[in-house]
């Protein structure tokens, strides 16, 4: 038992979890048909449930899972796992139908109309009743948390935001607050709003499908699962006192100390490589970082527009293409920054504390 737990704890570091999740995600979107088949998904479900049940035997794990405010996260995970599986599976089935030249399930019924009362209303009513039952039972058996009165002099360690913001709080490890707390949420909202204006292809509207929309769906699922849900899970279940990382079976020890050796890009370049010391003027000092950042946002879109995404560029036109690339690059920059941190202890690419401007 202890050995398994120790092994799990050792396995769990942000980089391993993150990488493993990305690999799984890649396999899932690369082989959706196999991944959603019963032969694969049922054993995986069994494995997940068994792992969860095993986890519950551990006091610490159980304590964190059953913290009242964390219970919905666990519920959400299972709900979303199921519906992701369900949606992709439906899409795969429709894809197969379309390959065979048949219409999708939805299309077969799209011209049939049924009366709202009773057919839709009844579903809604039963669902409403079912939800009410779940809520009441949930409320009866799980008391809402109430800690001691607010006290500005004692900050709990760790202090955490409400769980649905914990992905952003987790990003604070890798980004300054203005990026993690302001810029990225803004981009998320803008990005979400922009979806219908970029993906205007009416094909694939109103029914589950996968193959036709593989790129779009994969991007969305990547954003949702890896950059949102996974970060919430890490932030909620695996971040303990001093925002240190803890394995699922590791006790949250307030004294745990880990080395923090982060350095800035300018330091790497001017001290480690060139050995000339940091320039006094900030603009000179940060020039490599600024150039790198600008390059990141300028060069790939230009190259891709000429090569791989030529057709997309032509379809979208320059403005839409630029917006899309901007959004995508910002999104990708998150894991890139995380890996840079893990690989090179890189703190900031551009660090201008004079204006609180750090990237």
């Amino acid at each position: 038992m202890t050995m398994i737990k120790d092994a799990v704890n050792a396995f769990c570091s942000p980089v391993i979890i993150f990488t493993a999740s990305m690999v799984c995600f890649y396999l899932f979107v690369r082989f959706p048909r196999q991944a959603t088949s019963m032969a694969v998904s049922l054993p995986l479900l069994g494995l997940a449930l068994a792992g969860f049940a095993f986890g519950l035997t551990d006091d610490h794990f159980r304590k964190i899972i059953t913290t009242p405010d964390n219970v919905p996260i666990v519920g959400m995970l299972f709900i979303f796992l199921y519906f992701t599986w369900y949606a992709v599976r439906k899409g795969v089935i429709n894809d197969q139908r379309m390959e065979r030249g048949e219409s999708t399930i939805e299309q077969t019924e799209t011209n049939e109309k049924v009366l709202v009362f009773p057919y839709l209303i009844f579903i809604e009513f039963v669902m409403a009743l079912a939800y009410a039952i779940v809520l009441v039972v949930w409320s009866i058996f799980l008391k809402a948390p109430l800690e001691e009165p607010a006290n500005p002099t004692i900050s709990p360690n760790p202090s955490k935001a409400p769980w649905y913001f914990l992905g952003l709080q987790e990003l604070l490890v890798y980004f300054d607050p203005w990026i993690a707390g302001v810029l990225l949420p803004t981009f998320i909202i803008i990005g979400l709003c922009a979806i219908p204006y970029i993906d205007r292809d009416t094909d694939g509207s109103g029914y589950f499908s996968f193959k036709k929309r593989r790129a779009v769906i994969s991007t969305y699922l990547f954003g949702f699962w890896i950059l949102w849900v996974l970060l919430i899970v890490i932030g909620t279940f695996m971040r303990g006192p001093n925002w240190n990382f803890f394995g699922p079976f590791e006790k949250w020890d307030i004294h745990k100390t880990v080395p923090l050796l982060n350095i800035n890009l300018s330091e790497i370049i001017f001290i480690k490589w060139l050995g000339i010391g940091l320039p006094k003027l900030w603009i000179v000092r940060e020039l490599p970082g600024i150039l790198l950042t600008l390059g990141y946002f300028m060069v790939p879109p230009a190259i891709l527009a000429k090569t791989k995404l030529k057709s997309a560029y032509q379809k979208l036109g320059p403005v839409r293409y630029a917006v899309l690339m901007m959004l995508l690059l910002v999104m990708v920059s998150v894991p890139i920054k995380m890996y840079l941190r893990w690989a090179f202890n890189l703190k900031y690419i551009v660090a201008i504390p004079e204006f609180f401007f750090n990237i």
Binding site: V114, V126, V137, E148, P152
Partner: protein, 933 residues
Amino acid sequence: MAKPNPSLYSVQKTFFWFAVTSVLLTASLAGIVYIDAKRDWKDYQKAFFKLKAEKATAELKQAASAVDKKELEKLRAEHSAARKTLESNSKSILDLNAKLTAAELEITKTKVVFQDLKQFEDSYRYYYEEYTAHHDPRAASYAAKLAEIKPRVQEAKIKLEKAEKGRDTVQAGLDALLRQEKEAQKKVDQLLDETTRIERKIEAVKPSFAKDLLNAPMLDFIAPTLEIQQVVLENLHDDYHFAKAQKVDRCTTCHMGIDQKGFEDAPQPFRTHPNLDLYLGSMSAHPIEKIGCTTCHGGNGHSVSFIDTAHTPRDEKQKAEWEKKYGWRDLEKWEAKMLPLQYTQAACAKCHTGTVEVPQADKLNLGRNLAVDLGCLNCHKVEGFEGLWKVGPDLTAVASKTDETWVSKWLQDPTRFRPSTKMPRIFHLENQAGADNAKLEDAAIVATAKYLHHHSAHPEVLRAPQGDAAMGEKLIKDLGCLGCHSAAGVTAGTHGPELSSLGSKVNADWLFTWLKDPKRHSATTRMPSLRLSDSEAADITAYLMSQRNEAFDSAAAPKADPKAVDDLILLNLQSKMRHEEAVAQLSKMAPDEKLLYLGERTIAHQGCYSCHDIRGFEQAKSIATELSDEGRKNLHQFDFGYVHDIPHTRQDWIRKKLEDPRVFDHGKVKGYYERLRMPHFGLSEVESEAITTFVLSLTQEEIALEAQDLLTTDEQRIERGRRLIQKLNCQGCHSFDGKDAILRSITEDPGAAPPVLHGQGSKVQEAWLHDFLQHPTTIRPWLKYRMPTFGLTDTETQDIVRYFALLDGRQTSYRGEVLQEVSPDRLAAGKELFEKLQCAKCHQITASSQAMGASFLAPDLTLTKHRLRSDWVIDWIKDPQAMQEGTMMPGFFPDMQSPLPDILGGDAQAQIEAIRDYLYRYDPAAAAESTAS
């Protein structure tokens, strides 16, 4: 495309799901009602009412058996006889009742007439007055109307009164008939008064259908019998950090019997609070309506659930019991938990501030006194405890007292030399274990001893003459040394050090000099001078020097390993300079220089100067944590390290720290100078619990002034005196102010013990007391104990004099006695009484007195007029035992009966006053002359 099918699914099937979900929802809604109705506190209240009913039933049984059966029977018989008479008269009663009804009717009728007319009259009068005032001509007509109606009103009134009288007559007749039966009934009721009262009580608490209905779910908002009980505390607040919320204690919701007598043996939560006269009772000092519960016990008064109120178990056993019984668990995130019962006294200090001791809080007082005595407060700053004397001896002239070897052996382990010492062990503790550390510790010890001797002054020391050790031992017992010290095989005072094995420590010349005048050696010492003669001092010196600790003598002295010294010096230097500079500096030091440097660093690191005067450290700041708000310090600020065998609570941390001060270093990797420094005091369980209570009591919680026990100016002055008295240890020898003297307890004959000082303030004159405290003289020749000279300053002396006066409710004036004019007859009577009662048999009054055995028995009465207050003398002669238990002075006027009926008419009071007057006017010179002539 298939033909459109207008139906999506079978509606009938959804009915099934409707049914299922509806039933489940109804069930879950019923669940809500159930959990609302099923609250723990309701069960407790039901159980309590049951208990109360049971108790009342038992009471009822007792009360019923106390009722005189025969008497009851007799009264009942009388009653039934009266009833019978009544029944036989039923016809006339019916008759009278009918008449009564008729009379009532008549009254009603006449009353209506009267009232109507009266209304008219009032109305006419109003108009009449109004019109007259405005000179309206209509006034005349109203005058006429008024005149017309007046007699009619009068007539109606008379009719009404007549009707009322008729009714009263009938009523009286009826009452007369019924009286006998009523009185008989009343007598029976009176006899059963007690049982009826208890029956009613039972009725109020016993379960019934009506009560069940009132308490039923959904109906219990109307008038339930099971209700939340609460006290709202006017002046007390819960600190919600941003605002203060009024304190509300709902504890009595479950602890229903807490302020009621009779539940002393009831199971919790119903048990009566101990000592209701002091706590909770409405007449007590801490009424529940004013003080509540959580003010002292802590916890969350708003809550009514066992866990969320933050009950804290006393020990592991209770914890296990609670876990089983109540499902108790620790509220990790709640700071203000209840204090476990053994530490409750810590809460007293919230309101009782500024006093040396808190009345009735023995544990807290013990802890506080220990914290003062052991020097805790020398190192730890605590608001309100500043400016205390240093508890350790002055080390500025230590070289003249003892040698370096002794000091270093002592520092290794003080208890090896003197098991009872208050000096804690500083070196060689668990976090410095291991051979390497031991070497470092020894090096530090030797260096410290070296430093102390090197920087010691060398005051002149007298030569000790040869003394008689046996005589010295007797003197130690006789002179009162034992009030402060344990010595000569007697365990007594703990104020000063135990004096056995002193021969292994000091040299005879120093000891002789010290005994002659301690202040000569150390100006700050608390040791007073006993005004010893040279031979007395020599005898005591001889005895004390003969007492040795052989095991300590033969123990090897620690050695300073040169490498260890170098290592430590390097560690010190490195904290100030670069490594290479440090090495260079070290290589420049001579060996002696090294030791002196290390000694200085060691003393600075360990903070020795907090308790001892040490040259070179006059301005040094104490090294320990401030404890002013320790009782509220956040739990996460306590570093438990790797100690897991104690509960992680504030009190357990403090206690563990006291018992084993270095334990929290356990398992940690730390440098020599980073380790915990608190020394080991070897406290007993009782002591560590008491000190823990004291430390928990240190909070800076703001309590409204109205709720505090504020001291008046006089009380503050008394406390100032108390502090001084504590410092001087007056109560080692004298019993007063609620404390019994140690010396008194080891003196067999109370008459030979130092005098009891209860009522000293009303006994002696202030000026005399002032002089006496500064320059003590012999008052009681028979006492061998000697009042020491403390070398008090004028302010200190005045503080003590005022303290004694205030204790007796008097203000100091230093005015002395003003004598009243007295007739010569009275003086003559006084003289006669003085002679007849043979006062001079014991009291010296002149050189030619007959007093026996050279004033062996009683004080010289010539002192009286300057020493005593005249009204005290009266009280004293009346009943000496009452004022000083065990005194040899007999009472001559038992129950104020004089043995001499022929003087002053046998009036005891007059006789006593005459004696007093005689004493205050007695002039020894004149008396000597008259005797001579």
